[in-house]
Symmetry: C2
Subunit: 454 residues, 2 copies
């Protein structure tokens, strides 16, 4: 896709240079809007906006919806306020809030004064929901119908509204006070198409999966995924229906949450924007706070080594393996922490499995530690002439065996412990586990050496 | 949800103990199948199967679909072969292959002989597509219609088939040879419900987003997400329509791929099953291969330190900060590698951004390195009496500054380099970056010390 879209760019620019109205109109209308947006992805925001002027209003809105997010933000921020405002008024209610959230505030204010009152109120209301809640990602473009309608009437009503709705596949049945009463799927309508006098009341499902407007977006997304829903209704405290969250928004939430988990595991406070759009000072702060915590954790290794300084001066060849010992433990700890944290987050591992987890890590630690010990023994014998007696030759392998086991156990137990304490196990990031295993590694190394050398 | 479901378990067990047919029937039919499955999640596979016997056949299939995967596998593997086979015949075509893939082979063979020939052939055909391809996750339960049908005829046809279809929201138009010609959405049918003499041919979209049966499942999932599709058709080389992949399968793919990325970043070859279900030897191998590669990378630090052994013996207080220096560089490298790798994978960072990335990492490295240098200076002065002259007091801070910058740059450049070489940047796992930064750290530390001490 990206290859063809780049190939087409020069022609598109030529059409713009020549103001070739016929060709540009043809370009905007010939393909599905998603493909058209693809072909435009190499243009500047100015060029992009100029091309969009040749699309019919409905097509323009649709193409705009499929442009990449930064491009949308640029266009809204830089182009003629009046024209932008009329585009904003036509966008899906969740999409426009998404875009406006990244446009500078003073520009948003200028645009909002130009948007019709109904849409303006809708935007301000949605913007008021805190980031990360169901309210912040829902759309208000939803089919709400009364229960006394017949199948036939419902289909007619739908066919009138279809253009403005995010999904027509779930119809929500509400009473006069907008309280959610039930759900009829388009599938049920179609199945009952020959009983067109039947009323929605007789078809509707009343045991509904719904969410509250203040629910965490990740929980909502998991619900939608678990029950294979196309959309989930969003309710307030009085079960009034405020909007819906659709399956495509759920995918966005999962992407966002997966990125956050990865960043936490890498020892970074999750970013709110993409890497290239996050200001350098924000990025420094989000990395720096963890780097400093980890620095002080690592400082403990200096205290530990300080205790053994005299001994190390007598056997200087022990020093050169310090980084090897530490990193082997850290890597082993990283691996088990990664597996246990992701297992806990996905629900595959439960707290009650802790004994099984420890058993498995002990077994794996023995196997991997044993193998690294073998590698370590050969390396030590080749690298230092001091490691030629049996006792000295055993220091490194024995240390590696114990350190790898300690790493595997610590990497598994620390996240389990965090979870048990009611904290997010992903806070126990890999660097943090590695920091703790580093200290263990030094203590093990020095004590094994003391034991074998005395 | 999980709280209420646990609360209900004793009552459910009591009903089973008393063989209370009326209550058990009521339990199976009263709630939506997804909720019923929830309430059953604490039961043993035997109990679960006994409860399912009280459900109507259609409800039984639906409840079973919402049971957790390990429970499904257990039930299929252990219960009466004939009864299990008739359940399998009724399941959605992608779901049953999913379950059978984790059932021991000899049991699958026994079950398949009891499944009707049509379903058996379908299962064998789907099982033949390699893991990770579009074919392996598609379903064959799809609405295929001829283009000459009218809207009215199409609706009637749909209402007949609806029970067996995974989605009725996209209708695929095929010719006699099953070649995909176009798509009509249920939305279009509903909008044209009053022009019921109109033919599908006049409504259908012919510029379609589709995928090939051998396409990588991740690419397919990204396509579905990008274009906000409910389903994507799966074609063979001749554009014959083999099946569809629906939005809920796409969410599963994203979960799977996100887990794989995290595992790669943690230095583990991705698991095919959940942690607790992966055999210990497989797990050891998937971790061990990386642990050993990393071991030999870390061994290079021993060579590096070996070169400076004499010098270190003269200034033994330098030794105690080795782990601190190494881990500071490693953590800084981890952070930038995590951000750059995930940015490259999501497409937010492109190869052409490399200069911007380097500029940002240099700036961030300076800020973070500067701050750690400050912490390092204070720590060194408090911890060792040797770091009291200006020159010796500067060794640790200067080293930390340079090491943090080197880490940030290496963490950014290594994944970019991998990507440039056409390799998967996630292969440049965090431990691997840390390993390389370890060596840089030692070389920097020793050279700074030599420079300031001479």
């Amino acid at each position: 896709m990206s290859v063809e879209s780049t190939l087409f760019l020069p022609e598109l620019r030529e059409m713009l240079a020549e103001n070739d109205e016929a060709e540009l109109r043809e370009f905007c209308e010939a393909l599905p809007p998603a493909r058209t947006a693809d072909f435009m992805s190499g243009l500047s925001p100015d060029e992009c906006w100029r091309v969009l002027q040749y699309a019919k209003p409905e097509t323009r809105v649709q193409i705009f919806t499929y442009l990449e997010h930064p491009m949308q933000v640029e266009i809204i921020s830089t182009q003629d306020r009046d024209e932008v405002a009329s585009l904003i008024a036509e966008l899906a209610s969740d999409d426009r809030v998404d875009v406006l959230n990244d446009v500078p505030e003073e520009i948003v204010r200028e645009i909002l004064t130009r948007v019709p009152a109904v849409e303006r109120r809708d935007i301000l209301r949605l913007q008021a929901y805190p980031e990360g809640t169901a309210g912040s990602i829902m759309t208000t473009d939803v089919a709400k119908l009364a229960e006394h309608l017949t199948v036939r009437e419902a289909l007619d009503e739908l066919s009138r509204q279809a253009g403005d709705l995010e999904t027509i596949y779930y119809l929500y049945i509400v009473d006069e006070g907008d309280h959610l009463r039930g759900l009829v799927s388009a599938r049920q309508l179609v199945t009952n198409i020959n009983k067109s006098g039947k009323r929605l009341r007789d078809l509707m499902e009343t045991e509904l999966i719904a969410c509250h407007v203040h629910d965490d977006q990740e929980e909502v997304a998991q619900k939608v995924a678990k029950y294979d829903l196309l959309a989930i209704p969003v309710l307030d405290d009085e079960r009034r229906m405020l909007g819906i969250i659709t399956h495509d928004d759920v995918i966005d939430v999962f992407h966002e949450e997966a990125a956050e988990d990865v960043q936490r595991l890498g020892g970074i406070d999750p970013l709110e924007m993409s890497y290239l759009h996050t200001p350098i000072l924000t990025l420094s702060w989000k990395r720096g706070m963890w780097l400093i915590i980890l620095f002080f954790a690592a400082l403990l290794t200096a205290f530990a080594l300080d205790r053994y300084e005299g001994r190390l001066a007598t056997f200087p060849w022990l020093i050169i393996f310090i980084p090897l010992v530490i990193s082997s433990g850290g890597n082993s700890g990283n691996q088990s922490a990664t597996l246990i944290i992701t297992g806990l987050t996905s629900g595959e591992i439960k707290l009650t499995d802790w004994l099984r987890v420890v058993g498995r890590e002990l077994a794996i630690g023995l196997i991997l530690g044993g193998f690294l010990a073998l590698c370590g023994m050969v390396s030590a014998m080749l690298l230092t002439k001091e490691a030629q007696t049996i006792k000295t030759a055993l220091i490194l392998p024995l240390t590696l065996l114990l350190v790898v086991i300690a790493g595997a156990l610590a990497g598994a137990l620390l996240p389990l412990f965090f979870k048990r304490m009611g904290l997010d196990p992903a806070m126990m990031s890999n660097p943090f586990v590695a920091g703790i295993v580093d200290i263990l590694g030094i203590v093990i190394y020095m004590n094994v050496a003391l034991m074998l050398l005395n």
